[in-house]
């Protein structure tokens, strides 16, 4: 595991071994990598033409790249589908990082904006897109400044490119939901819309729209540069490449690091020097993620094939180690309460269901719940899952279920004996402030 504080390697004629993405950061300046520095490693992307660049699509397919935003969809298949769509094709860089425990996309946008732009422009060439949008939350001032500056550098250097527009997003979890992002760019509110049609069919301006996460596009740029075989030289056969993690909680060194997919979680946690007191559980994938017991965390490897067997998954790569003094139920209740507040307020089961689930979880944490509350929580999970227009409520249900499973002993004890001693401690997981934010 390589933390991003370490010095990066010199310019390379073959691809970097590890770190890959983080080698694009300028460690000397600590600021954004300039265009001239970036161009010492990466050639300017060939501008998009009328026809899709088949070789790029084939390279990404062969590399087996999967989206790094959380869903893990094969990027090559997405490129292929959008490239075959009829109409004016568009690329959207999804730079929204509404997940409170994730910081990796913001880091890439702020420190390696040209790698992000290369990825976006190469994706545009791959699908013959006429325009690129970069969506970034309004409050991510450094990322916005870096991207605006990077675009200006390219214009100044007369690099040929399709128009690149920066779109400021409201600071809400749902701003990153694909249909919400498209709706906002099309002039509406950043709320999910009924699908189908999905954005890859009819998205921005009604045209086929490729929406990819920031980290995904950086991998894409490196695949085009160094090829699928290089990409596959790290990671697993099913899930090749490296990925960025954001470590927080009871770890010695918080922040973004890069690992080969499939690396042992125990190694990651021990090399980030966990507190002497150890940990009581790990929240994988952030607040939209799932809990992993200590026993599972000890043997887990960081790939979805393994994690799914444990009822978990990589998600966006946020890893939070829960310290032993924390009450996992209280922490889950706080996160679920925050998630319930992030609903777009459109679908009844999401609005009422998430509020009910959060309330039930708070009772459980406070030790005022009965076995009936527990029954209701399970029923509400079943009733909410799959019933929103988007998959937002499903994530909250996943978190609920993993908490009830991983902490089933705590649940029983809270019901029979009331709140635990940890309730007296300060909460551990940070919750974003509940400012009223517009939907545009």
């Amino acid at each position: 595991m390589i933390a991003h504080e370490l010095p990066s390697s010199p310019p390379l004629s073959t691809g970097p071994s590890l770190p890959r993405l983080l080698s694009a950061l300028d460690e000397q300046s600590g600021g954004a990598t300039s265009l001239s520095a970036h161009r010492r490693t990466y050639p300017p992307p060939t501008p998009a033409r009328r026809q899709p660049a088949e070789s790029y699509i084939a390279a990404v397919e062969k590399a087996g790249l999967r989206g790094r935003g959380g869903a893990g969809f094969p990027t090559g298949r997405k490129l292929r589908t959008v490239s075959e769509g009829q109409g004016r094709r568009v690329v959207v860089v999804n730079g929204s990082e509404g997940e409170p425990a994730s910081a990796k996309d913001g880091l890439l946008l702020t420190r390696a904006p040209h790698l992000v732009l290369d990825g976006a422009l190469l994706a545009a060439a791959a699908i013959a897109a006429r325009e690129v949008f970069v969506g970034i939350e309004r409050g991510k001032v450094a990322a916005l400044r870096a991207i605006h500056h990077a675009i200006a550098e390219r214009v100044h250097a007369h690099e040929p490119m399709v128009p690149v527009r920066v779109v400021e997003l409201p600071e809400r979890y749902l701003s990153g939901e694909e249909s919400a992002l498209v709706h906002l760019i099309n002039g509406g509110e950043a709320k999910p819309t009924s699908t189908p049609p999905r954005p890859y069919q009819r998205g921005v301006g009604g045209g086929p729209t490729l929406i990819d996460n920031v980290e995904t596009l950086c991998h894409l740029a490196q695949i085009v540069q160094w090829g699928p075989a290089w990409f596959r030289s790290q990671g697993t056969v099913e899930e090749p490449g490296t990925m960025l993690l954001t470590l927080s909680g009871a770890v010695g060194r918080r922040g973004v690091c890069e690992i080969p997919i499939g690396m042992s979680l125990a190694t990651i946690l021990s090399s980030s020097r966990p507190n002497a007191g150890g940990i009581s559980a790990v929240l994988l994938g952030g607040y939209y993620g799932t809990w992993l017991s200590v026993a599972d965390a000890r043997v887990a490897t960081m790939d979805n094939a393994t994690l799914r067997r444990m009822g978990s998954g990589l998600g966006c790569g946020a890893v939070i180690a829960l310290p032993p003094h924390a009450c996992a139920l209280s922490e889950t209740a706080r996160v679920l309460t925050w998630l319930a507040g992030q609903t777009a307020g459109q679908c009844g089961p999401c609005v009422h269901g998430l509020a009910a689930i959060a309330g039930g979880m708070r009772e459980l944490a406070a030790g005022t719940a009965s076995l009936r509350t527990l029954e209701s929580l399970h029923r509400w999970g079943d009733q909410v899952e799959g019933r929103g227009a988007c998959s937002f409520p499903d994530g909250a249900v996943r978190l609920l279920r993993s908490a009830l499973k991983v902490f089933n002993n705590d649940v029983a004890r809270h019901i029979s004996h009331g709140p635990c001693s940890a309730a007296a401690h300060q909460p551990v997981l940070p919750i974003p402030s509940a400012n009223v934010v517009s939907w545009r």
Binding site: T193, G348, P349, R387
Partner: protein, 71 residues
């Protein structure tokens, strides 16, 4: 090719009046908050008639019958 029908609800449009569950108890029950939970099995015969009535009765046009090709 046989065409069958499936019921779908546009959850954004739905505001939980619950008429559909009265008119089509064969396929629709309500959750704890009064929103319809749809049985995805296709409908035909007399159930299809009931489904059409439920679709027509939805005050916010959230309930839909969707043709499924094949069977």
């Amino acid at each position: 090719m046989a065409v069958s029908f499936r019921i779908r609800v546009d959850m954004i449009a739905c505001d939980g009046r619950g008429l559909c569950a009265d008119l089509l108890p064969e396929r629709i029950r309500l959750d704890d908050w009064g929103y319809p939970m749809i049985d995805p099995t296709s409908v035909s015969g007399v159930v299809l008639d009931h489904a059409r009535r439920a679709v027509a009765a939805c005050p916010v046009l959230a309930l839909k019958l969707e043709a499924v090709r094949g069977s």
